[in-house]
Every structure is written in C-alpha cells, then in structure tokens.
Symmetry: C2
Subunit: 237 residues, 2 copies
DNA sequence: CTTTTTATTGACTTAGAGTCAAAACGAGGC
DNA sequence: GCCTCGTTTTGACTCTAAGTCAATAAAAAG
C-alpha cells in the first residue's frame, strides 16, 4: 500500500480515510438518522463543503463506510480461508471469522439493510455501489471456494450445487447475526451468546448439506479446531 | 372484531387504521428516509397535526406499520400451524407461510432493521414497542410449539433444545429473505427465485437438526405436501 | 512580486419534522 | 333557532440539518 501516487492524490486519499474513520464512529454511535454532517465536518476539522468534494450525499458516505466495513469482513474471511485443514475445518475457520466480525460490528447489517431501501440506493454514486459489490463478492468467493473444494474432495455429496450452499451459509450467518442482536428475539430465545447462536446455525446448516465430518460425529472436535484457528490465524487480535 | 366501543373511540381506531394503511403504502414506495408526513396527511385527508394526535414521531408511525406487518406474518404462521400432518410437515407449512410473506413484503426486514438502530428505538413510544414485541413473540411461539411437539414425538433427537432450534429456523428464514433480495448477492449466486432459496435454507436447517423425515429421504414428498398446504390452508389467496 | 489556477470555506437556500394558538365543530341549554 | 362552553382539528410557524455556491484563501506559474 506504499503508494507512488503524486502527493496531491495521496493526500486526498488520506483525507477520505480520515473522513470515513470518523463517519464510521459517528454512524455507530448515532445511527444514520441522527448522523449529521456538521458534526462530522467539525470532527475531521474540514468544512462541510469539503466533505461534498469527496461524497455526493450523506447516503454516499454511509455506503462508503459500509464498504469499508465489508472490506474488513472480507479480509477476515481471506485470512480464515488460508487455514490448513479439512474442508469442513476451513468452513469452521470462516465461521469463526464471521462471528469475530459480528462481535466487533453487531449492527453492521442494520446499516447494510438501510442501504438497500428504495430511496437510498439511487442517492449513492454508481461508482461507490460498484466498490460495495466488489467487497460483497470477495466474501462470497472465499466461502464459495471452500464449498467447491469440498465438493471436489467428496466431503459434500456429488452434484451438490456450490453456489446454493454458499448462499445458504451466508444467509444463515447474516440471519443469526441479525436475529441474535434483536432485543425481542433475544428475550424469547433466552439471552444466549450471539457467537454461540451463530456457530450453531453455521454447523447445522453444514450438517444439513451433509458436509463431512458432521458436527455430531466423533471425528469432529470443535474445541480443538477452534483453538488451532485462534492460534494459527487470528493470533495477535 | 365487531367492537362495542363507544362511537368516538371506534372512529379513532378506524382513523388510525386508515393512517397506517397509507403509511405502509408510502413507506413501501419511498423508504423511511423519503417518507414524508405532509404527503401522508394529504393522502389520508387529515392535517399533520392530527397525525401527531395518534403518533409521537415519524419513527413511531414506522414502528406501528412494522407491527401491523408483523401481525400479518404471525397470522399467516397461525394458519399454517393448524396444518394437519407430521411435525416436519407442519414445519414445512410454516416455511411456506414465511415464503408467502417474503414475496408479499420483500423489504419488510429493511424497515425492521432500521427500527433497531440506536437512535430509532428511543424515539418511538414504549407502548408501541411493547406491541411490536408481542407480534414478534406470536411468530416465535407458533414455530416453537411445532419444534416442541417434534421433540415430544421423537421426530427430533431427544434432548434437542427447542428454543435454539426455533431461533435457528427464524434466523435462516430472515437471513435468506434478506440475502435473496440483496442485489449484489443475487447476482453472485445466479438470480434464483427468492422462494426457492428460502425453502432450501429451511429444509437444510431442519435436516441439520435431524428433524425426521429428512428432506433427502424417500418418505418426504415435498410437492405433495405443498399442494396440500395450498389447498387446505392458503386456499383463497 | 504579480497573475492565474485550484482548493476550501461557511453563509445561504430549502425541505420537512414537529408545535401550538387559533379556528371549526358539536353537545347541551334556553 | 342560536348562544355557550368544551373538545377536536388545523395549518402557519419554528427549527434543524442536507446540500449549494459565490467569495476567499492557498498554491502554482510566470
């Protein structure tokens, strides 16, 4: 990332990064509705006009923040997918990354959902929408690669449709993150840990596709796998 | 529902209903951001001041709309849970209801998510929050009852934790509805039907818990079950 | 040091949420 | 009918915050 860009362009990117850092903080604290650009301008010590040199609208800033966060998620997935082990263990590593992300950004998908509402999408710039799609795609591909490997290795039944398995895993992971942070549902299901719920959902979905070894089988020692994931992939943090 | 309330109170409720109908339409069309109360007032042919006799804030209206929609969902679940058959077939009936709902209200959970963001929740009245929780609870309970019956009947392994199964099914259903309507993911996973994705996720999650008969077994003829569900439960619509 | 170009600003416009004094309505009495 | 008093409804008004753009400052060129 040591860029050889001309100073001007480099400074511009640095300032954009500064804006996004503060925007992320304020969005997290206040939610999109109460997130206000006068305060953001004050925080970054530039004028409101300058913010509009980088972003077209408030929505555009939120989309850029979401993309930034999605990029972090995809980076976690990237690291996880390098885990050395059976395909099911590698899936567990991605699952671990998804849970780690959920604990660090529990309300990310609130913002994410918002971005998809009718009025929102069209107010953000096409270019930023593209960048957002790319990060979503990266996450998808890391999961999909492991699923494909599993089919090739025979850990998933032959003829299993890779894309569908991938999207089902993503669905259940997003769903459990969302459901696990929703106060009404938390109450009803008896205040468990978000992370535990997510893991259960991921495991059962893999089992449902008959991804071997099943989490109920004697070949599967999750605790051991998790401590290896922690030690080998997510050491420092 | 033929109320014996004094005329005044009845008229008030009818007006509230009128407001919510229009609010739902406008929210669906424009999203929360662009949903504006002057237009709503014009649509219902009352002044903005009158809207504020019913609701404390714009957020409060959105929450009430969400509650109304959640009530419809719970009502679909209620009808589905009366299906006569094995526990797994009854689960399929609820799944069918969830998919029917998803097709009618594909972006409901966008609004729903929004309601949970920091700033939003505290702007709505406690009373409406309570009502929202009740409808969420109804949906939860219809699912949970079937899960409990399945454990008693031995269709799920003994000792399976009912609440966790229930929340996992809700998670995967919400997750697949959300993921299936997200443009980026739709593109990546190859533009399938929302309904087909949701069904797959539901089935595989049930299979993951070993809910018998498994969807892969020869005892399971989904097409036959679905046509019975359609005929017996969701005939007229 | 002067001119030209580029970057930055913050006062201004505008839209829309939320308020409240005044107007309209309605029930009861005469 | 019509006057009085309490209740309901209203829409003009205030205020906040997104988005604009003419004016200013800084940098580059001459």
């Amino acid at each position: 990332m040591v860029s050889k860009l001309p100073r001007k362009q480099r400074e511009r990117l640095e300032r954009e990064e500064l804006i996004l850092e503060h925007a992320q903080r304020l969005l997290g604290r206040d939610g999109f509705q109460d997130f206000n650009l006068d305060e953001l301008a004050r925080a970054v010590e530039y004028s409101k006009g300058t913010l509009y040199l980088h972003f077209e609208t408030k929505e555009d800033i939120a989309l850029a923040v979401s993309t930034r966060v999605m990029e972090m998620r995809a980076n976690l997935f990237e690291r996880a997918s390098a885990f050395n082990g059976s395909t099911r263990q590698r899936a567990a590593a991605i699952g671990y990354a998804a849970r780690k992300f959920a604990l660090e950004h529990p309300d990310h998908f609130c913002l994410q959902m918002m971005l998809k509402s009718n009025s929102f999408w069209e107010k953000s710039s096409p270019d930023r929408r593209r960048l957002h799609g790319i990060q979503t795609g990266r996450s998808f591909n890391f999961v999909n690669q492991i699923v494909t490997d599993a089919i090739v290795a025979g850990d998933l039944p032959p003829g299993t449709p890779a894309h569908v398995v991938t999207i089902s895993l993503i669905s259940t992971t997003i769903g459990s993150q969302v459901a696990g942070t929703e106060p009404d549902l938390q109450m009803l299901s008896g205040n468990g840990e978000l992370s535990a719920l997510m893991r259960l959902c991921q495991d059962r979905m893999c089992d449902g596709w008959q991804w071997r070894p099943l989490s109920t089988s004697s070949d599967w020692d999750y605790a051991a796998v998790e401590s290896r994931i922690r030690a080998e992939i997510f050491t420092e943090d």
